[in-house]
Each structure stands twice: as C-alpha cells, then as structure tokens.
Amino acid sequence: MSDLFIRTRWWVLTILVFVLITMFTAEFQQAQTTAVLASALRQSTPLIFGALCGVMCERSGVVNIGIEGQMLLSAFVGFMVASSTGSLVAGVLAGMATGALMGAGLAGLSVTLLGDQIIAGTVLNIAAFGISSYFFQQGRTLPSGKTPQVSLGPLADLPVVGRVFFINRPLTYISLILIWVVWFILFRTRWGLWTRSVGEVPSAAETVGISVARVRYTNLIAGGCLAGLGGAYLSLEAVGSFERMMTNGRGFVALAVMIFGRWNPIGIWGAALLFGYASAVQTQLQFRGWLADDPQFIGMIPYVVCIVVLAGFVGRARPPAAIGQPYSRE
C-alpha cells in the first residue's frame, strides 16, 4: 500500500493540485469550470499530437527534437494549401504530408547516414523556421474559415463533460481517438512489439530478422503525420491563420509531455491535459485581471511547469534503452 503510494505520489499530488485549482478558479460556477476545462482540452490537443509523434519515434530508438519544426512547417503548408484551394481537407492532408516528409528526412539523416539525432532534429527546426518565414505572405486568409464545430448529439447535452468533450472540432476528436490507436499499435500488435524491441536492443531485433531501418523509417514517417496533424490543428483549427513561429515552443513542450507520460500514449494524454490546464489557467488569470500589469509572468507559466516536470520526473521513468544511438550492423 505504502509502496503503491510512493510510486504514484506524483500523480496523486498532480491530480490533487488539478482539482483544487479548478475549484478555486471556478469558484464552483459550472460555466466557468466548463470554460477552463474546454480551454485545457484545446490547449492540450497540439501537445497530444506532438507527443504521440515523439512516442512513435522514441519507442523505435530515435530522439526527435524536430517536432517543433515539423509542426511549424505543417501549419504553414497546411494553411497555404487550404488557403489557395479552399479545401480544409486538402490543407490537413498537406500538413500531414509535410510532417511525414520531414520525418523521412530525419530518418534519412539519423538512420541511413547515422548522423547525430539531436543535430538532425535541430536541422529540421531551423529549416522549418527559415522556409516558413521566407515564403510567408501577410494577409492570406482561409476562404472556408476554420474547421467547423461538430456536436455529438445527446452526449453533448451531458453537464460539464458534454460541453468539454463532445462539442469540438474534428481534429480534436481525431487526437482523442489517436491516443488509443497509438497505444493499441505499440502494446498489442506485432508492429508495436517490433518497435519496442528496436528501441531497446536494435541488434536483438536485427538478429531475429526485423529490419531496424524499416521500423525506424516507418515510425518516423508515421510520427511525422501525427506532428503534421498537430501543425494543421494550430493553423486550421485553433487560429484559422498562420503566424511566424506560431508553434511557440509547443513541439518542445510536447517532448516534456512525452517524458512525463512515460513514453505511453495514455500517460501522455494525462500529461498533455496537465500542460493544457496550465495554459488554460493562464488565460483565466488574464481574464480576471490578475497580474494584468505583468503578463510576462503569466507567459512563463507553461515553460516553468515544463522545467519543473522534467526536473522531477526524468530519471524516474526509464526511456527506451537504445535512444539516441545510431545503429549499424557492422
């Protein structure tokens, strides 16, 4: 019993803080609570996409520091395509393709050319920043508007939960489904077993006939699609336009979310909600006029939370053993 508490104490504490803050900020008003929670879910969505990308890559043994760049460039390309074709679906697909292409690029650098994975990811980030800034044109809009809200009939009428979970836009629903899809793939399917083996002991996987390169390429490209969805979410669903550097560090926060979630999609969901919540509270504070003269301190909150979480959790969770090491047979 006490052992169980020691193992889960961080989660217990986190949830406690979570509940207390909700009660405090909402002052028991349902409308307020709903608004904060809905905002938390919205803020968590890009983190979920980013962290799921991270978990696909890292479970196969590749550090992806380039999620930020993948999301940024996907947001840009998705927006440009949706803006010129008028089709949001085309925009989302273009975003996914961009992320996938960058994932393939990362795989090329780190798997085929055996480059340093962190530097390869940094290349993605810098390239995404440069390309999106260079080709960015002010004043473009989405002819179709943002992605539409979809309400899931009777479920949406449930108190609190209905407003929060069942009246959302399409990519938000997709993110919630993908959490379970990625979990199922990683922990139930043959591909997941292969992925985890490659991420732990690539040479062991290779000796039973699993191609390390194939697993890593596939996972990096699939992860790229997920990051691409995260980018498309930002420009096509959350904001409805593209801004320079609009990811604003979310790709890096997503990595912290992934570590905090212990490389497990379900843990990632919890961690993403926590981070989303930190951002939602930040918005709430601004609305209430607290710290109105010093918005910079509110602006720091997500990053400080991220540092605290990293300092508190890394070392407790065990990352895939082969992470960061290029693998070659000879």
């Binding site: 050319l113 810098i126 440069g130 260079y134 720091m300 890394v314």
Partner: protein, 349 residues
Amino acid sequence: MRWLKPVAVPLIAVGLALGIGAIILALSGANPIEAYSALIDGSLSSQKTIGRTLEKATPLIMGGLAVAFAFRAGLFNIGGQGQLVIGGIFAAAVGFGFEGLPWIIHAPLALAVGALAGAAWGSIAGVLKATRGAHEVITTIMLNFVALNLTDWLASNPWKDEGILSRTPAVEESAVIPQWGALPTGFLVAVAASIGCWYLLERTTLGFEIRSVGLNGDAARYAGISVKRIVVATMAISGFLAGAGGAIETQGVIGRYEPGFNAGLGFNGITIALLARNNPIGVIPAALLIGAMEAGGSMMQFNADVSPEITDIIEALMLLFVATPIVVRWFFSRQDVAEVSITSGWGSS
C-alpha cells in the same frame, strides 16, 4: 593537401548550401547572382560594411563559442539565446545604473556583470542536469522562453526607459565599448575569448576534464573526475560566453537593451560551432561568414528584392551538410567519424 583536411568539410557544406540557396532563389523568381552580389556588396564592399560584418560577427563568435564549448563536454546548449539576452539586460542595467565611473572601470564592470548573469542563467540547466538528470536540450530551450519573458518584464517595469517603448535607458558614455575606426573593440574581445577557450580546453586540467567527460563520461568518473561538477561548470562557462556576447551587443552596438535583441542567435551558434568542428579558433571564420550574411541581408532585400530570410534557409542547409556524416566520410577515415556523434539520449546524466 594535409592542411585542407580540417577545412574541407565546412567548405563543402558552405558551397553546397550556397548552391542550393541559389536554386531556391531562382525558383522563387529572384536572380541568384544579383542576390549574392548584393549580399557581398552589403558585407564586404567598403570599410563601413566590413565594420558592420565584424559587428554582426561579434555576438556570433560568442554564441558559437558557447555552443562549441558545451559540445566539448558532450552538452548541447541550445540556450545561447536566453543567456545572451540575460547578459545583455544586466550589462545595460550596470551601464545606465551607475554614473560618474571612469571608463576603465565602468565598461569592464558592465561586461563582467553581463557575462556572470549569463553564467548564472546557463548554470541553471547545468544544475538541473547534474542533480535531476533533466536533459539540457529541453531545459535550455524552455529557459530561453523564460528569459525572454523575464527580460521583457524587466525592460517594461523596473528598468524601463521613459516613453512608451519597453526598453532600458541608454547606457552611460563611460560604459560604451568604443569603435577603433571601423574595427569594433568588441570584436577584439571576442577573438581574445576564442583564444582563451582554446587555451582552457587544450592546456589546463579543467579543459582535460571537460574533454574527458565529453568523450566518455563513464571513464571520466572512473578516473576520479566529478562529472556533475564538470557539467555545471561547463554550462556556466558556456553561459558566461553567451552572456558576454549579449553585454558586448548592448555596450558596443545597440547602446541599450530593447525587444528583438538579437533573435535567433542560439541557432546560429549551433551552425557556427559545427562549421568550426567545435574548435574555438575555427569559430572566428565561421562567425565571420554568418556575420557577413547577416550584414548583407538587408542590402539583398534592397538591391535584389529578396527576403532576408533566405539567409536562414542557407544557414539551415549549411548545418545540414556540415552535420551529415556522409559528407564527412568523403574526407576522413572511420576513426574521425566516430567523434561525430556528440549528443546523447535522455537517459544519460
């Protein structure tokens, strides 16, 4: 041909990046030759533009040194940006906060305080890594965002200038780092810092410890080196270099701290460090190259109507090619290649 070996990879990377940059320029409807000659025009054509290049290169040398130095201990400091703005604003605070000090005291004092502030900021990531195992790549990035918010707050509250802009007052005349004709004194400080770093790494026991930790942390621990101490010390020195870069920018170029202070320096620092193959002396030419591109960027926009962000793309391409082992492998034997993998995964601490 022996002398060519260390510079071959960077030269090829630069050549390839400029070539592909030309293709991108052509594809986006610009004339690459016009654009590149405008770039040269704006950076190397006159005493004034050369001075501007040196001025741009100065913080780049410091940023590149910060990254290269940390790399030698196996640490990836992406936080140069944050350490730089912290250094910049603290130097500004000393610069405008004291009146009547003689130049010989005031300018070095402001520079030292800026550098030490950067060192303190950098060592946060070092301490988190050494004691908690938090990976420096993420903590330094997060600390960049925190630093930007913090300096923004400082510049709009306690250290705010009169007027509506969020910036500090101009530093006192006695805190300004002067020009020697076209030659900024700050550039000389940066060159001295490069030489100092080289000496520290290659000739001192601390440098031996830093290099040992970077090459094989387990063996370093076996040899009695306190890896945690080295991690903290290295991040502090790295932050010191970046903070000094910020101070020079404040005292020698801008004259105060203001928003938008040298954005993007952290990433340039990575490119420069890798172009220099993490050699402190090599950082100087690498920073001059990037500095020339920055200095010439506005001329490119003016003369050839090309968005200066193309230089970001070219820099990303340089980083790509210089970090790609296959390029290295054309020129080096296997054993040299073994050094290329510099960073490590989350598990190491």
